[in-house]
């Protein structure tokens, strides 16, 4: 019956192979973003993994991104891809006897690193504990919303927590797309263009240091910091994970500035330097102070050292 009317295309018999072929091509064509037929969308879609790109490919990716950001934020961006400095491994020290919980660091970080203001993302969380309270390994229930007239409050102490830049980072192990990894200078970086937003890393991080862009990040144009690094403070996309990078755009320079949180801290509780340099401030802290690291029993080996100077 069908064979007799075979000339009409509607009655043409379809064998299994061509049916599957057609279905595959049809579905593939649905995935192409026709509405935004800009070439940069294609380029972004087919961008290679950062560590598989050669210098020219990286250059063209940066050029494309600078244009995208300039269009969106009406500012000229300078996206750096500076690699790790040789002979450098970054370490951080935080003096808990000095911290007064004023949250200057939180907002200096927001300003420097272009975090979304709405939905709000903070890379640093300052925790408040009552004296004598159980704290080091159970800080998930600590008060992070304290808001008195003045700090420090009598009978309390404060502990800021941010990415601990683990030597043995659990977040890197779980990433299914290898969008996050540890660089030679010890900074755990994220390629926001390879992050698929599965948030496995957030579940794996024992410090709650990773944050997710649940919505499109909003930053007022007047507050954009256009001096950015590919792995650091370039504006993020909806649906990607982000975290502290020790201000990679500042510290990977030679000479490099201190991270924004170190620079703002009014009590000088934050110390930063090269763990491989015996003359550095951080080495002095480790060698002369009673330092500890958070959740050391998990064997994550953070490069973030808390200590008490008094």
């Amino acid at each position: 019956m069908l064979k007799k009317t075979g000339k009409h295309p509607l009655y043409k018999s379809v064998d299994r192979r061509s049916f599957l072929k057609g279905t595959a091509f049809g579905l593939a064509s649905l995935a192409i973003p026709f509405g935004t037929s800009d070439a940069s969308v294609w380029d972004a879609f087919f961008q290679k993994h950062f560590r598989e790109m050669d210098d020219d490919e990286i250059k063209s990716v940066i050029k494309r991104m600078e244009k995208e950001y300039a269009d969106e934020y009406k500012t000229d961006f300078k996206i750096k891809t500076t690699g790790p400095l040789p002979g450098v491994k970054f370490g951080y020290g935080l003096d808990l006897s000095l911290c007064i919980g004023c949250r200057r660091c939180v907002y200096a970080c927001v300003k420097e690193n272009n975090q979304s203001r709405d939905p709000q993302i903070h890379w640093i969380t300052v925790l408040q504990f009552k004296n004598g309270e159980r704290w080091v390994n159970v800080f998930e229930e600590a008060d992070r919303y304290y808001n008195p007239q003045e700090v420090p409050e009598e009978g309390h102490f404060y502990m800021p927590v941010q990415c601990q830049q683990c030597e043995n980072p659990p977040c890197v192990k779980v990433c299914p797309t290898q969008a996050t990894w540890k660089e030679r200078d010890g900074i755990v970086v994220i390629d926001y263009n390879w992050c698929i937003g599965c948030r496995y890393c957030m579940a794996a991080c024992p410090y709650g240091a990773r944050h997710f862009n649940w919505g499109k990040p909003h930053i007022d144009k007047s507050e954009i910091n256009p001096d950015v690094h590919y792995f650091g403070n370039r504006p993020r996309y909806k649906g990607v994970v982000e975290k502290c990078t020790f201000c990679i755009q500042r510290t990977r320079e030679n000479p490099g500035r201190y991270p924004a949180c170190v620079e703002i801290c009014p009590v000088g509780a934050r110390k930063f330097g090269n763990l491989l340099d015996p003359e550095s401030e951080i080495r002095y802290c480790i060698e002369n102070k009673r330092v500890f690291r958070l959740k050391e029993d998990l064997n994550t080996s953070p490069k973030f050292y808390y200590f008490f100077s008094i």
Partner: protein, 186 residues
């Protein structure tokens, strides 16, 4: 002396001069005359030089309520002005040893009692430090953060706490508050 030998001498002299000046410029400081690169001391406006008023005054070493510096309430050990200030010349400070130091190097004065803090400060572990982590660092004098007369660090108003997830309510970009850091003058 011909031109050649003059230029030779000039070369010989200039090499160590240039080298020395390079060495000293490596340790850039806010003030080249002090041992540590610190900004100028935080005097109240119009108060310095002290000799402006004190030059013609008779020195009174009796411990008493002051009639002019009434804003200074000493809450710092059981002391008296001349433990630190120099009765013979008010524009400088005096160590316990009798050594005279300027206000720009007052860290030596504090370090007489607070030796441990002074040691830590010298290596950059006590106190605020800005600048470059692998280059020039900017120090602060003790008195930039601690008033010498009431050294306890003043409490601060904390910046706003993070938004609770259930309170995320901003609808338009105009409703999002700007960074509260911008409104602080410090």
């Amino acid at each position: 002396m011909n031109l050649k030998s003059i230029s030779k001498i000039f070369l010989i002299v200039s090499i160590p001069v240039v080298f020395l000046s390079l060495l000293s410029s490596h340790a850039i400081s806010a003030d080249e005359t002090t041992d540590y690169p610190v900004p100028p001391p935080p005097f109240s406006e119009g108060i310095f030089p002290c000799s402006g008023c004190h030059a013609g005054m008779e020195v009174n070493t009796n411990i008493r309520e002051l009639s002019f510096h009434e804003d200074i309430k000493l809450k710092h050990f059981d002391g008296w002005c001349f433990n630190c200030h120099n009765p013979d010349n008010r524009d400088v400070l005096r160590l316990a040893s009798g050594k005279i130091i300027t206000f720009k190097e007052s860290e030596y004065l504090c370090g007489q009692c607070h030796g441990e803090k002074f040691r830590n400060w010298k290596v950059g572990v006590h106190g605020k430090r800005t600048g470059l982590w692998n280059g020039r660092k900017e120090y602060r004098l003790c008195v930039h953060c601690h008033s010498p007369h009431q050294p306890r660090f003043k409490p601060l108003k904390p910046l706003p706490p993070p938004v609770r997830p259930e309170d995320s309510k901003y609808k338009t970009i105009e409703q999002i508050p700007l960074n509260p850091l911008n409104s602080i003058k410090e």
